[in-house]
């Protein structure tokens, strides 16, 4: 199910939670919804899941309007809220059976689905245990399991790896990545490494606005740079670069290298930059340096904050 969010605005009293949020999630992709606390991630998710009404703007999921057609969306949605709510007085098996029932999965199919998600989340040994007696990580896995019951075509996971140990985190990432192509997955997370590991695309929110959106591969390629290590005069290098490749920007990196970047891909100016370095001194190394999601995130959020507070 494709998600299209158009100009969502949501205000809670005097606080503007969403300020014209727009983004798209292609069908079958895994998209990370990122942002600092208070960025608007939870509000966006609440609107998409039909738990809140937008002040203005719209969100459509598989062509269904989130406000008008919430019944159709709920029939196709698997949702894990933050902190994985469960009934502590139920066993894992009874809880999953109950959730299968409320998702209109009956009889033998329900039992099959409970078996499937228990196997997928490695809950086999815990099926007969009361949820109140389980560790936070196991309860979290039970929460993820209920979201995957019935193979929903849209899965929204809010901090799915919170409380899990490193091995379990890797396992959940593998499961989420395995949903690619079979379901549209919207993953809200604070863990940038997690988004980088499993997401095709990211949407970064800050202060209720989208500050970065796109396919991860394209975003990192667009920010690609070369790290130049050379021996010689820095001013001479600047002169040579300005003469040979004027479209290239140079900045000093903390590790002593000179970072070269441009709106054009590095393959268009790599040879000319190398020639400039040779002309200005001795070229030691010229390495590709792609930005990480973390650096893109920090840049996007910092830029947004500078715009919001120009005096700072």
């Amino acid at each position: 199910m494709r998600i299209d969010v158009h100009n969502l605005v949501k205000r809670y009293g005097a606080t503007l939670s969403l300020d014209g949020v727009s983004f798209a999630v292609p069908e079958g992709s895994v998209v990370g919804l990122l942002g600092p606390n208070g960025a608007g991630k939870s509000t966006t998710i609440r609107i998409l899941t039909g738990l809140a009404r937008p002040g203005s703007g719209s969100a459509t999921i598989g062509g269904f309007d989130s406000e008008r057609d919430h019944a159709a969306i709920r029939a196709r949605l698997g949702y894990l809220p933050e902190l994985a709510p469960t009934y502590p007085d139920m066993t894992v098996e009874d809880f999953l059976g109950f959730m299968a029932g409320v998702r209109r999965i009956d009889g033998a199919r329900a039992r099959g689905e409970v078996d499937r998600v228990c196997a997928l989340l490695d809950l086999g040994g815990w099926r007969g245990r009361l949820l109140r007696n389980l560790s936070k990580g196991t309860r979290q896995r039970a929460g993820i399991a209920q979201a995957l019951l019935g193979e929903p075509s849209l899965v929204i996971l809010d901090e799915p790896t919170a409380g899990l140990d490193p091995a379990q985190i890797l396992e959940v990432r593998r499961i989420v990545a395995g949903l690619r192509g079979r379901a549209t997955v919207l993953l809200s997370t604070h863990q940038l490494a997690e988004a980088e590991a499993v997401c095709d695309r990211v949407v970064v929110l800050n202060g209720g606005r989208v500050v970065l959106e796109g396919a991860l591969a394209e975003l990192t390629a667009a920010g690609a740079a070369l790290a130049l290590r050379y021996r010689g005069d820095r001013a001479a290098l600047a002169r040579e670069l300005a003469a040979r490749c004027p479209e290239v920007r140079a900045a000093d990196a903390p590790d002593g290298a000179v970072l070269l970047g441009s709106d054009a891909a590095p393959e268009h100016w790599r040879a000319r930059a190398a020639a400039a370095a040779v002309a200005a001194g001795e070229l030691l190394a010229l390495e590709d340096r792609r930005p990480t999601l973390e650096s893109l995130f920090v840049q996007a959020v910092a830029k947004e904050q500078r715009i919001a507070t120009p005096a700072a």
């Binding site: 039909g50 009404r53 009934y87």
Partner: protein, 257 residues
């Protein structure tokens, strides 16, 4: 099976199982039965003494002196216990996030409300069934009027249904179980004392209105053995109105957030 019924039974089973798993149910049940038994035995001893000494001039009646008074007391025990049983209803689900999770599933508000109501009602029906022991014990010393006993039971069941619906409504209003219980106590005590408050305005339209809207007059009629449709309709309407309001509150909360 229609979807509404299927979903309602699903939630009712879960609620009943949660109550059975809760120590609170056993504490309430024990207190309810022990208090009922204490009142019944006190009345029965008093009745036996009066009958033995024949101080009443031969007019002592076990139904009036023991069974009816016991049912009156049991009715007040219901008022004391139902808010404790219903306070967790929606308040607990809202506090632990389950309410939001269920709202993202195809389950609607009505099956949720009706299912929770039925689960709590099943527990209260079990409590009320325990009072069967009292007229059976009275049978050992005298002959209670079983028609009055039956209408008294019906009164307790109908009152339980109405009071549980009120408790569910109060639970839907808040995230705090304590606040839900306090609201329920205020509502149930108000309903029970309405007739008495109305009597303060003797001779006015308020007195008549308070008599009709208060629960006491209807309970009293049942305990006299009157099975008039008006009294049955009163409790049924009360239950339906508050279940409807609970469902509307849940619906409106969805769109207020």
């Amino acid at each position: 099976m229609p979807r509404l019924l299927r979903d309602t039974l699903l939630v009712a089973r879960r609620e009943a199982a949660a109550l059975v798993a809760s120590p609170l149910l056993y504490v309430l049940c024990g207190v309810f039965f022990l208090l009922g038994a204490f009142v019944f035995l006190s009345l029965l001893v008093n009745f036996s003494q009066e009958a033995f000494q024949d101080r009443s001039g031969g007019y002592v009646n076990v139904t009036q002196s023991v069974v009816r008074q016991t049912f009156h007391a049991v009715h007040f025990f219901l008022i004391a216990q139902i808010p404790l049983l219903t306070m967790r209803g929606f308040a607990e689900d809202r506090a632990n996030g389950m309410l939001d999770l269920l709202r993202t599933t195809p389950l609607g508000e009505w099956p949720l409300v009706l299912g929770k109501f039925l689960g709590a009602f099943a527990a209260m029906a079990f409590f009320v069934a325990l009072t069967l022991a009292f007229p059976l014990a009275a049978e050992a010393v005298s002959n209670p009027e079983w028609s009055v006993v039956a209408s008294g039971w019906l009164a307790l069941l109908l009152a339980s249904a109405a009071y549980i619906a009120i408790g569910m409504f109060c639970s839907a209003l808040t995230e705090s179980q304590v606040v839900a219980a306090v609201l329920s106590y205020v509502a149930l005590l108000g309903l029970s004392l309405l007739s008495a408050l109305g009597a303060l305005t003797r001779g006015t339209a308020w007195e008549d209105a308070a008599k009709h809207f208060g629960a006491s007059e209807h309970i009293e009629a049942f305990l006299r053995g009157e099975l008039a449709p008006m009294h049955i309709a009163y409790f049924a309407l009360l239950a339906w109105t508050f279940l409807f309001l609970a469902a509307r509150v849940l619906e409106s909360q969805r769109w207020r957030s």
